[in-house]
Symmetry: C2
Subunit: 557 residues, 2 copies
């Protein structure tokens, strides 16, 4: 059994109504799912968003991820816990984990050590069924496309130009590419198709950006699923699928309340991919949290170049949120890898490598300032870190006018993040933030891509093939020029080359393709391959997952 699971199982959880009460949620606004999970009714969310003032919003992001691990989720949990410990009223907003990957490689996505959201097994499995509902909505739309063609195709859908794919919450490479409708007249017209994992579905992205049910239904209706032979887009609303999809999602849209091991309320809701989508929890959860607490601590996927940029330029822009501070998580181990050390050699002190790797962290610090936000560095401590290595980071951050705060929440829980909590509160109280997105809505789409590439990735330029530029022009002609862009590139580097660690610059960002996510409300710019359906490894975790004699789960974490 993993230490994370051991700690989680040893914890005594408070009944969810007690957590709700602490958070200021009346018990009749709760829809319990078992004893330790609840959904918070949409009526209450609507009402409180009209009634109450807004708290401060703190984003937790990270350096470019390495195999050494950084600990963004644990830091998010630890910071929320520590804020509550020092007397603030804080809520934590996280993404829901996807079920499918649990059966591939061992490990959950609900924090770790003494900084976890619980019940961790439930959260990592079916939880409250949100992803199943999103899968169903995605696949109802797919079924209605083929059904429309089957019964005469009055909309004139060009079957070669159907872009809507089916979805499943499973790592299943066999479904990446399929030919459907095989088997004769009764089964329809055979065509190429495929499944994405549900976190890659545009329904997930639209769900996470929706302000309320009506907005969700509108977004779903806007989803473009295909085009006609003469290039006219066909939407979910054209197929009259939007209403039924919204019905499938109406319960799911209510945010999920759980607790941390320290008893802090946590909203865990929605979980779009951070490559072809924006990678943050739902707007529903974040706005609810801001109306319930002094401080909301939330997280974005991948490193700050992708995660924070999308959180700020997509989610905050579209939801009208103005964050107040940004914590950048780093570890000595990961900085060493950015400084050129191989994973096997991380055990040795190497101050030089740390200094070289700081280039990656320093650039994220500078980038966050471009959005008008104060950056604070959380140095997530591992036992092997040496004083000299830590001092190198602290000196470098001081030179940049910020600070690197040592965090030991994994082993110490909230106590290990109190210093970070104080540092964050200092920035919040000083009112240092003056948030602005990186680019204005009105900028042409190609220029938006360039603004991110040059401003955040420090690329010399963008390589935009003519065909891709023409697609952007078409999106603009269709009335989607005002939307933000969502860059799908590797999370391991500022560049499109996953091996270029540290702080590469002067590179050219190749845009392979662009796609319009009209329902979510952004244009995706794809640099390199984007994996939207993982496969299982040679020995999947599923092979060792079972129930023990007491009916408890073995082998999942």
């Amino acid at each position: 059994m993993s230490i994370d699971l051991e700690i989680a199982r040893a914890a005594t959880l408070a009944p969810i109504a007690q957590i709700a009460e602490k958070a200021g949620i009346p018990v009749d606004a709760l829809e319990p799912y078992g004893k330790y999970k609840a959904k918070i009714g949409l009526d209450f969310v609507q009402q409180i968003r009209h009634d109450r003032p807004i708290g401060k919003l703190v984003l937790v992001t990270g350096i470019n991820p390495t195999p050494a691990g950084e600990g963004k989720t644990t830091t998010t949990v630890g910071l929320g816990d520590a804020l509550n410990l020092i007397g603030k009223k804080a809520m934590i907003c996280l993404r829901e984990p996807s079920l499918g990957p649990c059966f591939g490689v061992k490990g959950g996505a609900a924090g770790g050590g003494h900084a976890q959201v619980v019940p961790m097994e439930d959260i990592n499995l079916h939880f409250t069924g949100d992803f199943h509902a999103i899968t169903a909505a995605n696949n109802l739309l797919a079924a209605m496309i083929d059904n429309h063609i089957y019964w005469g195709n009055s909309l004139g859908i060009d079957a070669r130009r159907i872009t809507w794919r089916r979805a499943i919450d499973m790592n299943d490479r066999a479904l990446r590419g399929i030919v459907g409708s095989m088997g004769g007249v009764a089964n329809g017209f055979p065509r190429e198709d495929g499944f994405d994992i549900v976190v890659a579905s545009e329904v997930m992205a639209a769900f996470c950006l929706a302000y309320d049910l009506a907005d969700l239904q509108t977004r779903l209706g806007r989803i473009i699923v295909a085009s006609t032979r003469d290039g006219k887009p066909v939407t979910a609303a054209d197929l009259k699928a939007d209403g039924a999809m919204a019905v499938l999602l109406k319960d799911a849209l209510a945010p999920n309340l759980v607790q941390t091991l320290a008893g802090s309320p946590a909203l865990v809701h929605g979980g779009p991919f951070a490559n072809i989508a924006h990678g943050c929890n739902s707007v529903m959860a974040t706005t609810l949290g801001l109306h319930l607490s002094d401080v909301v601590v939330t997280e974005a996927g991948f490193g700050a170049d992708l995660g924070a940029e999308k959180f700020l330029d997509i989610k905050c822009r579209l939801a009208g949120l103005a964050p107040d501070a940004c914590v950048i998580v780093a570890t000595i181990r990961a900085l060493k890898m950015h400084g050129g050390v191989a994973k096997a050699d991380l055990g040795r002190e190497d101050v030089g490598a740390v200094r070289r790797g700081i280039a990656n962290l320093a650039r994220h610090v500078g980038n966050i300032r471009k959005f008008g936000l104060p950056p604070i560095v959380a140095l997530n401590r591992f036992t092997a870190d040496t004083e000299a290595e830590i001092a190198a980071v602290q000196q470098a951050m001081a030179a940049l006018g910020t600070e690197a705060i040592l965090c030991t929440h994994w082993s110490d829980g909230a106590q290990g993040t109190v210093a970070l909590a104080h540092a964050v509160m200092q920035r919040l109280d000083a009112g240092e933030a003056n948030f602005q997105p990186l680019y204005p809505d009105a900028m042409p789409l190609a220029d938006k891509i360039r603004a991110i590439a040059q401003g955040i990735y420090r690329a010399a330029d963008v390589a935009l093939p003519d065909a891709v530029a023409a697609k952007l022009a078409r999106f603009e002609a269709q009335g989607f020029g005002h939307v933000p862009v969502c860059i799908a590139k590797t999370q391991y580097s500022f560049s499109a080359d996953p091996t270029a660690l540290g702080a590469p610059e002067g590179h050219v960002l190749p845009i392979r393709d662009v796609r319009l996510s009209a329902g979510a409300g952004f244009v995706v710019a794809i640099c390199g391959d984007v994996m939207t359906m993982p496969g299982l490894p040679r020995v999947p975790a599923a092979e060792t997952i079972r129930l023990d004699a007491e009916g408890r789960i073995e082998g999942l974490f």
Copy 2:
């Protein structure tokens, strides 16, 4: 808005803890799902099955269904309500409806009028997520098959002989037949495949027949998914998928508690197809109900030739249940159709047609007696039924030594089924039942098929092609000779010809194929085409389903 929905929405529901208390379920055994649904913890189910005596079991079945409608579910609900009304402690056990079909043709599956289980919209949509969990377990196994082949196929699976299909809870004809793993080396070896609707999955059948979690895991492990080139079966246990599948199903296996409009406790749990599976709610729910109440009223799918036979020969045999009485539901309208009247002409009195149609009902009455059970006929009254028509049925049933009780639960609720409740109690109190399955375990499989065909369908014989007989012999050689058989044939007739209404006899039952459901624990004998993936109609209900301005569902029922 339909009358059913209007009535359901006007009802004031009791908090589910109150229903549980009435049923004798302690509140700490409940896992609430919202305010009006709960799962009953497996620990409590295990414990009470050791501690408490067993109530009486009443099956509600019907004549062969016609487009005129019979009302088995409403009668089941009405009878349970009436038993509670007359002072008995009764529980109702029903199948869970499938989500997919809701988007095809309008209408739910939670009863109707004043005889409904509620909250009906929840029950018909995601409910407590059981079907999503079963879908995930089914598809994890599928992914592990292709993954095993991808990584070297050490079990030597013959890809042409993979019988395990993927599943989805959606009416989607485009997924009936697919070619998967398209797109090159990274996606695996292309092969023919397809999706069934989840109620047709063997995981569903195994789930519904499982006595507890350990038994479920054993059944899942036994599922045969493919064979090797030399004909050796490959099981889910060979793929080491059984443990993870059981983990996915562990919450789902806990029975769901809801209430009727009259406040009776109802267990709504599991829902296998009634053609290629056995078509009844879970053994978990039925056995729990029997330990909580004086009488459990439960339902089987389709007419008594399929539904009751499978309930008795498969579910009761495998779970060690001994039912005490059997209610056969009929309507004047349906009897007229069995008597040769077209649907459009049902409005006119036609005693002659009723008399001819009674042949269908009378045969079911006789069949139920073959199992040692007292049959009672519930005549589900429609306003257009005339006194003479009703008298014809009552006289005929009296002549058969039973009675036809008029029921008006649809319009009158429990009051409309009090007479039926008294009639049932009379049989129960008299202890008339002496249950025995139709055939012994030890009978050869081919003879079991013949026993059903001749004993229940009144066929002259069975047409069993040599290849099919050889398959049966192989199942016996593999050690599955002792299992019951599950006949998949049309529900509209005693014969395999759906147009042969009334009481055909002397026909020959053609067995097209046989399949071993080793996990569920039966052999399926297929007569004619079996549809395991429905399609959507020309104008699917989904097109008119939406949320109204108050966020309520429109167009679903």
